[in-house]
């Protein structure tokens, strides 16, 4: 590298200082603040008292927090199967010569992922609505009026019901990502395999899957990260209710901090979300790497 290209240290510093200060202020300062305040009893007012790790002890014993965490895990698993899994199946189908209107599937399928989670939540609330919902309307016209109910009030069903919009919204997104990965693979590979007598299932597992393995890993990672921070849909549809039946970690942290103004404990929950999310995302990646090696797909 020519020396003349390299600017003075002062110039570099001037260019970097605003973005770096901006970034540190909004990401690292809050993180440190959360760790600091998590050691205090603080109800949002002027009085704070240092209580050491009491908040963390309470957090470990807090069954609602762990229920929320288990709901996040439920979302992660359901969405890996529902979003990436279904997207993969759709990609195999779309890739078939028999399918028409591929451009339409791509454009329409991708559309929901560009809409805000709040709108999606609203749309699905209208679908689940008791009196004016599409779901109950459909049940009634198909003669199943006995199963009509106030859907989002069913504690045992509510997690599934709030996950459906989430899954539905992002199938197209992952489908398009996987499609672009497949389109970079030479089409002749598939044709040769077909001529050699490999059936659709064999082609999917032994040819398509290994070829787009890395993209699938990216999708799964995006999916895990996306669902550990689930908040918007749930806030719009149920706010975590009924009771805590659809509570997720971010929602719980929000409720404790802003509804009960328990900022000290809320900060401890934030640190908890931070640690658990990193553990799950990291653990998932380790797990996937091992899985891929075992199968010899690598």
């Amino acid at each position: 590298m020519l020396k003349s290209i390299k600017p003075k240290g002062r110039t570099i510093f001037l260019y970097l200082c605003i973005p770096v200060i901006w970034y540190v202020f909004s990401v690292f300062i809050p993180l440190i603040t959360a760790m600091f305040y998590s050691l205090f009893e603080w109800k949002g007012g002027p009085n704070k008292s240092f209580i050491g790790i009491t908040n963390y002890v309470a957090l470990i014993k807090d069954s609602v927090f762990w229920i929320s965490f288990s709901h996040n895990i439920y979302l992660v698993l359901l969405c890996i199967v529902g979003q990436v899994g279904i997207a993969f199946v759709f990609v195999l189908m779309i890739n078939s010569r028999l399918v028409k209107l591929k451009g339409i599937h791509r454009t329409f399928g991708f559309f929901p992922s560009t809409v805000s989670a709040v709108s999606i939540g609203f749309i699905w609330m209208m679908i689940y609505d008791y009196k004016r919902g599409i779901l109950n309307w459909f049940l009634t016209i198909t003669g199943n009026s006995e199963s009509v109910k106030v859907w989002l009030n069913e504690p045992s069903l509510v997690m599934l019901l709030v996950s459906i919009p989430l899954v539905w919204q992002f199938i197209g997104y992952y489908m398009v990502i996987l499609l672009s990965a497949i389109s970079s693979v030479d089409n002749e590979i598939f044709e040769v395999a077909e001529l050699d007598g490999a059936n659709a299932f064999q082609r999917a597992i032994y040819i398509v899957l290994p070829l787009i393995k890395n993209t699938i890993l990216v999708c799964i990672t995006l999916c895990v990260a996306g669902n550990m921070k689930a908040f918007d849909h749930i806030y719009t549809m149920t706010e975590g209710g009924p009771g805590t039946s659809s509570m997720v970690m971010a929602m719980y942290g929000y409720k404790i901090s802003f509804a009960q103004m328990n900022m000290g404990y809320g900060s401890a929950i934030s640190v908890g979300i931070f640690v658990l999310s990193l553990l799950v995302i990291g653990g998932m990646q380790k797990f996937l790497n091992i899985l891929m090696k075992d199968k010899g797909v690598a």
Partner: protein, 294 residues
């Protein structure tokens, strides 16, 4: 070539196989079509339902409107209590300014990290990498505390701060990866011609990186426009709220007047929907590139 092989394979198939292929064709197409239609059905349903009045909608939620009316839109847009126009203006301003800073900062930092060796280069790199890994929702509560202590909460510029910060890591890495693939001779030639660092950066490198900057702009337009949770904790003033925040208010304000909620939602969604269907090819390409490389 491929078509030739195809016809050959097809011609030797028996009637039974043809039937199998025929039913498979119907099956595959209908499954995918059903899915695609489900993706835009809510939009269509909301559109024609928003043209009904409440009473008509409640009587028949699925039917097409017999005498369509735009009265819902008129009510929703003209009533200042709903803050529709205001919230859209807020969203446009927040998104545009965030985009400007994300692209500018992402470009500068990405370039410096890719090309210049100096003390702290690696530290910065790791710092931005951590930004990609940090679950931003764990910052929801602390960011509220920090912003309120610093007096930055509830201002017209409040949301730009976190949006730019959260958009930076991915932008920095997209630019960095892109710059690394550009031959360095470009800058060397510029330096020999006596171009200053700033001139080289903005007059020579900037135009070359346009494709990746467009990708960044596309991704960030959607994420800023749709962002909800940070707006929820940082903005308390109704006249400062962005579109997703305004939407959560509709529920309370309109109670169960669904056609009214729908017309309000469609009005606020309109810019992004139009943008999407006009530029869908570029948008999809940009979002995919961002997801895979990032």
């Amino acid at each position: 070539m491929a078509d030739l092989t195809l016809t050959k394979v097809k011609s030797i198939k028996s009637p039974a196989e043809k039937l199998k292929i025929g039913s498979l064709t119907i099956f595959l197409n209908s499954v995918l079509l059903l899915f695609s239609l489900s993706c835009i059905f809510p939009l269509v349903w909301m559109f024609y339902s928003s043209l009904k009045v409440k009473r008509v909608f409640n009587a028949d939620i699925m039917g097409l409107p017999k005498d369509p009316t735009i009265s819902n839109y008129v009510k929703v847009i003209t009533n200042p209590d709903y803050h529709i126009g205001e919230s859209m203006l807020n969203s446009v301003r927040t998104t545009a300014l965030s985009l400007f800073f994300i692209v500018l900062f992402g470009f500068i930092v990405g370039y410096i990290l890719a090309r210049l060796k100096f003390k702290g280069n690696r530290i910065l790199y790791v710092m931005f990498l951590m930004g990609m890994l940090i679950p931003v929702h764990s910052l929801l509560v602390p960011i509220y505390v920090v912003f309120n202590t610093a007096g930055l909460g509830n201002q017209w510029f409040t949301l730009i701060i976190p949006y730019v910060a959260f958009g930076l890591p991915i932008s920095v890495f997209l630019v960095e990866g892109f710059i690394k693939a550009i031959p360095i001779e470009l800058e060397e030639a510029a330096a020999i011609d006596g171009s200053s660092f700033t001139r080289t950066l903005f007059n020579i490198i900037f135009p070359v990186t346009k494709p990746i900057l467009v990708t960044i702009a596309i991704i960030q337009t959607f994420s800023c426009w749709n962002e909800f949770s940070f707006a929820l904790v940082l903005i308390k003033n109704v006249s400062l709220q962005t579109v997703p925040l305004a939407m959560t208010m509709f529920k309370g304000q309109f109670a169960s007047d669904y056609p009214k909620i729908m017309s309000a939602m469609l009005t606020t969604m309109a810019p992004i929907v139009v943008l999407y269907f006009v530029f869908s090819k570029q948008i999809i390409k940009g979002m995919v590139a961002g997801a895979v490389k990032g």
